[in-house]
Subunit: 434 residues, 2 copies
């Protein structure tokens, strides 16, 4: 029998996260305080994040234990499957071996619970009663809502207005998990009121929703903390469970990647798959081409400058050295809402600067074309964000057909598109532009 799906027993689930920071060739520039522009300290972040999270954000340990209660929840769906995309290979008539690591099996439908669960756990440990956050496409908000339900925390989600109006079912999902969802900009925060004063019909942005969620936590008198779904070192670290599992699964397949691909908005999904393979490479293992796929309409890694910038629109967050289009950049309303962010994770940015990773910008119609091909071949309808990885993987496989090379291409299918069918409907109706 030729295996299709590589499934690890629950007992083989990785029990540590991998922190790449000590392995970065040039280290990582510190984040700066938004007021003083001095390097921030753990104490600076205390009003914002749970203490366990702050410790991890500053950690230079290579391995950090995954707490038991977090592992218990991971085990409800992890290890996630690694699947050999044999039908896609046939459809492309390529000699390439294509594998995808499928994170859509999580109850929230994406990789985001990998970090939502520990963030809720560490917040619970601190006695916090409520977590605030923002969500664009809704994958992150759904995941944090679910994680808060697990730990008995209230969850307050600021949802970008355009998504709030267009995706009532995403909102319904968060509310089913018990979260309260507010359209952003809202009148609940100064940042929101200022945005509404400037434009009463504002459809919002991820950067603005971050400002609101941060403000809501900072002004909660200690009852609330904030949670963030990407960009941070600790978030990328939590996501390394993806790549660690994939390493074991590729060993089952007796294979090893030539190319690793992931979609990159904030960068955590791409990094989660790539970093454990990069670790091997830095330790003398095989060299891999790591390709971050981003939307051509929001090309932080391919077109942004590598500079200090805020994470949010209002300038409430620390400044991070990263590839950025500017914190006031307002990306066009593409369907991959999870990739509409002006900045890129500092770790991913630092790796790009030393050429350990590549970046490629792809237009959305080409991504949906690849997404439909994938759905008809493998059955799974990818999230619009994930179609960016599919597109690059397909292009690499087509290149293999042209050159006759049989390369192993491993990509991250970060989530399913069940809450994004309007995007596919618009694609079929010819309504999408690049």
């Amino acid at each position: 029998m030729t295996a299709t799906k590589f499934v690890l027993p629950e007992s083989d689930i990785p029990t540590t996260w991998y922190n790449v920071v000590p392995d970065l060739p040039k280290g990582l520039p510190p984040m700066l305080h938004p007021g003083t522009r001095e390097p921030i300290t753990p104490a600076d972040l205390a009003p914002l994040f749970a203490s366990g999270m702050i410790e991890q954000e500053f950690s230079t340990e290579r391995e950090i234990d995954i707490p038991g209660p977090v592992l218990d929840i991971y085990r409800q769906w992890r290890p996630s499957p690694l699947v050999r995309a044999r039908r896609l290979e046939q459809a492309l008539d390529t000699p390439a071996r294509i594998y995808f690591k499928y994170e859509g099996v999580s109850p929230a439908g994406s990789h985001k619970p990998n970090t939502a669960v520990p963030q809720a756990y560490y917040s619970k440990l601190d006695g916090v009663r409520r977590l605030t956050t923002e969500t664009g496409a809704g994958q992150w908000g759904s995941s944090l809502s679910m994680a808060c339900a697990y730990f008995g925390l209230d969850c307050e989600v600021f949802m970008v207005r355009v998504s709030y109006d267009q995706k009532p079912y995403r909102r319904g999902l968060m509310e089913t998990f018990g979260a309260s969802v507010t359209a952003s900009p809202s009148d609940r925060t100064e940042a929101g009121r200022a945005a509404l004063a400037a434009d009463p019909h504002s459809t919002g942005s991820l950067g603005l929703a971050i400002s609101e969620a941060v403000e809501a936590a900072m002004t909660s008198g200690g009852a609330a903390r904030y949670a963030l779904g990407s960009v941070l070192n600790l978030v990328l670290m939590h996501q390394t469970i993806i790549g660690q599992e994939a390493l074991l699964q590729l060993a089952m397949a007796d294979d090893y990647p030539d190319i690793v691909v992931g979609a990159a908005g904030g960068g955590s999904n791409f990094a989660g798959l790539a970093l454990p393979f990069l670790r091997r490479q830095l330790g003398g293992g095989p060299t891999v081409r790591f390709v971050a796929a981003e939307p051509s309409s929001c090309p932080s890694l391919t077109k942004g400058s590598y500079d200090y910038d805020f994470g949010d629109t209002a300038g409430l967050t620390p400044l991070a050295k990263m590839h950025t289009l500017g914190h006031d950049f307002h990306p066009p309303a593409i369907h991959a809402g999870g990739l509409r962010y002006h900045g890129m994770a500092p770790i991913v940015s630092a790796l790009r600067e030393v050429d350990l990773i590549e970046a490629r910008a792809v237009p959305q119609t080409a991504c949906f074309e690849a997404g439909v091909l994938f759905a008809r071949s493998e059955g799974i309808v990818p999230a619009p964000e994930s179609t960016h990885a599919v597109r690059v993987a397909v292009d690499e496989a087509i290149h293999c057909r042209e050159t006759g090379e049989s390369k192993a291409i491993v990509f991250s299918l970060s989530g399913h598109g069940h809450f994004d069918m309007q995007a596919y409907i618009d694609y079929f109706a010819g309504k999408l532009t690049d």
Copy 2:
């Protein structure tokens, strides 16, 4: 470590389906021809179904091999996980051990691909170019669309008008898989035109959509065959892969069910889980309580008569001996569209008649209440159909709390509710009635 999820390696996937027909204590009354009322023959079904399907429908073999190309596709998501619902147990403070077999991991989101894939395969073998079918809630239509994409067949889905209008994303999913979707009643068939003549604003019914799909196949001049998502012997047989896997997984857990629960509309999901355990019982193994959960608004098994009836509204299908509310029964518009069917599978009906299984009718608000509890405990939002099984499993677990008994309850979580969030939104808004 205490395991949560019981995962079989791909190599342990069952390679045969179990056919319960030779083990039925009183056998199975034959289906009758709609014209002559004589027992139907395989030849009678030839214009309707693929020959491989007809052979299986009449088979009295206990084990039937799963064809290799079908197994290859099953392996993309099977074996599906069996999960110990520890958080639900804690939430209920019950000594019961609750397990759920989760079919929502299939790309179409339910158990339906287990039979859609072989039906498409056998049709392809016969050189058929197109499959016609009906869909209510959309789970079956999505699954057959996916299966047809795999085998390069066209797929024509008659979707009950009320679902067609209320669920554009289900339709979008089917179209993403390449299917053509028509609202039923339509002007494409005599049955549809008659219904529209009687009521131009008809919202349709599953029975009527079946009539349309059957007629479309019968009048295709051989280009098309029909596919059916439940009720038939062969469909129940295809679904036994669920219970066969669960048997192996419970052995991994060193446990065995006292109670097996499944939601029952046509009966295939319930039967798919239950029959392999029933086989053990009939062979001298432990006695299990098998409970079919049906909606109190469409109570074929608890309130219907055990009689010969048509499978569709127009009387085009053969008559089957089954529990039925009458083929002209028009069920209220509950959200569990997949359970809105007037009849019950002949096999399930026959088992009910000899008291080998129980049936319980549950109202929809109580089902959604259980569904929300499940979502907040286990992360997965159940399909409205599946909440019926959750409700009965929860009630049994509460009963265990009251009696202090530690029973093992195994239920089938037939699918996720990602395309049914409006039902949850309506539930929270207090709009549902029983």
